[in-house]
Amino acid sequence: MADNNAFTLDDLRSTLRQAAGVAEDVDLDGDIFDTDFEALGYESLALLEVGSLVERQYGISLDEVAINDARTPRAFIDAVNTQLAAVS
């Protein structure tokens, strides 16, 4: 079952690529843990699609408020892992 770090930055990177692509001037493989999603070229619509993909892949239901408030990959990953921990 999932541990607290079940959803990693690499998982997020691959989900972002699949659900929303990557803006031209953005290096998604760089140190983006605390970079604002906005600076990475992702707006709320893209993050909704990313969240939806995560929910389907992991069979969880994310906290809408936590995901909506997540401004950085760190916050998003934390929100996912909180839910994964809750169901494990």
Binding site: E43, L45, L48, E64
Partner: protein, 423 residues
């Protein structure tokens, strides 16, 4: 411009809780809501399970079995409302040159309901990628391309002039009427049967709005689910319906002694060129549309008696729109009642713009401003007079109605009593 002024002489509405012009006005002026738990299909799998459904039986409105079979529900709405508008206008269509009668139909999502149902069949429940066309209904193409709505309306009213469907998402209902006004002003038509229709309450629509969390999850209070400008609002309630109008030249309407509801005095549409679904909070582009529409109507901002809001009840829309109205009307915005009928009839996408034009014209007719239902705790960031809960009697000679939609479209229309003095 050849100076032709364009007026509304016929109105018919099919709305949730109010089929027919009078029933519709009765609903609005009483402040009742027509939102309810979805009955058209099992809503259990969905995040949002409320909608504003119209109680509409096509057989009650004289459609033949053939018409009913070949038309999507939205096309049925359009034909019934278009016919009703023509009847109500008292215009003897048979006496006119058919090439001088035009048709414009707004629709955001066309025959979504029919497409959803038919896809399920030809794909055998989504199993077949190579769908089986032998299971398709013979009119499936008319669902795919909603120009069929304009054809049906043209046939129903005997129009052979320039006709089209205008499909600009949730501003379609304003833009369709705006298009029609331009046809009369430029001399391409003498009469336009114009309006809009959508019937989107279908699983695919609920699913896509669930995915972007645009519709409200307030499933435990369906009749109080649509809460424009309220601090507790959390999304719109999907609706359906249609409104159609007879538009004609003011002088011609006067000459035949027609009842004139209102002049369409100004119209403009602009785009935010920002995002397909997102809005910037400054309301700049909607304000520009309002400014141009007022200019075309030759009205000052402080001459507007009532603002009929888009007021969808999403967090971002209501703030965006409040900002746009303040930006365009200035201090007068604070003195002007501004209400959202979506609190009562939901958001019927491309149809609602025309339904709101109807509401605006009827507000002028009755000198009554319809309320915003369910508005108990105003959002501090929405600080205008939204006419909470109860309709208000007031002299209403000029109305600004606005719309905002996916794709970034922002539209504004000004209705005015034609006898007002033109500066």
């Amino acid at each position: 411009m050849n100076g032709r002024r364009v007026v509304l002489t016929g109105i018919d509405v099919i709305a949730p809780g109010g089929v027919g012009r009078e029933n519709f006005w009765d609903l609005l002026s009483s402040g009742r809501t027509a939102t309810r738990g979805i009955t058209f299909f099992d809503p259990l799998p969905f995040r949002s399970r409320v909608a504003a459904e119209a109680d509409f039986d096509p057989y009650d409105h004289g459609l033949t079995p053939h018409q009913i079979r070949r038309m999507d529900r939205a096309a049925q709405f359009a034909v019934v409302a278009a016919r009703g508008a023509v009847e109500g206008s008292g215009l003897a269509m048979a006496d006119l040159d058919p090439h001088r009668i035009a048709v414009t139909v707004g629709s955001a999502v066309g025959a979504t309901m029919g497409l959803d149902q038919e896809y399920r069949v030809v794909s055998d429940g989504g199993r077949l990628d190579i769908v089986d066309h032998t299971y398709a209904v013979p009119h499936l193409y008319h669902h795919m391309v909603p120009s069929s709505f304009a054809t049906e309306v043209a046939w129903a009213v005997g129009a052979e002039g320039p006709s089209t469907v205008v499909s600009t998402g949730c501003t379609s209902g304003i833009d369709s009427v705006g298009y029609a006004v331009e046809l009369i002003r430029e001399g391409s038509a003498d009469v336009v049967v114009a309006g809009s229709s959508d019937a989107p309450i279908s699983p695919i629509t609920m699913a896509c709005f669930d995915a972007i969390k645009a519709t409200t999850p307030r499933n435990d209070e369906p009749e109080h689910a649509s809460r424009p400008f309220d601090a507790t609002r959390n999304g719109f309630v999907l609706g359906e319906g249609a409104a159609f109008f007879v538009l004609e030249d003011l002088e011609a309407a006067r000459a035949r002694g027609a009842h004139i509801y209102a002049e369409i005095a100004g119209y403009a549409t602009r785009s935010n060129a920002y995002h397909m679904t997102g809005l910037r909070s400054d309301g700049l582009e909607m304000a520009e549309a309002i400014r141009v529409a007022l200019d075309e109507a030759r009205l000052n901002a402080d001459e507007i008696d009532y603002v009929n809001a888009h007021g969808s009840g999403t967090k971002q829309n209501d703030r965006h729109e409040t900002a746009a109205v303040k930006r365009s009307l200035g201090e007068h915005a604070y003195r002007t009642p501004m209400s959202s009928i979506k609190s009562m009839v939901g958001h019927s996408l491309g149809a609602i713009g025309s339904i709101e034009i109807a509401a605006s014209a009827l507000a002028m007719e009755h000198d009554v401003v319809p309320p915003t239902a369910n508005l108990h705790h105003r959002d501090p960031e929405c600080d205008l007079d939204y006419v909470p809960l109860t309709a208000r009697e007031q002299r209403t000679d000029t109305v600004l109605t606005v719309g905002s939609g996916f794709g970034g479209f922002q539209s504004a229309m000004v209705l005015a009593a034609p006898e007002r003095s033109v500066r």
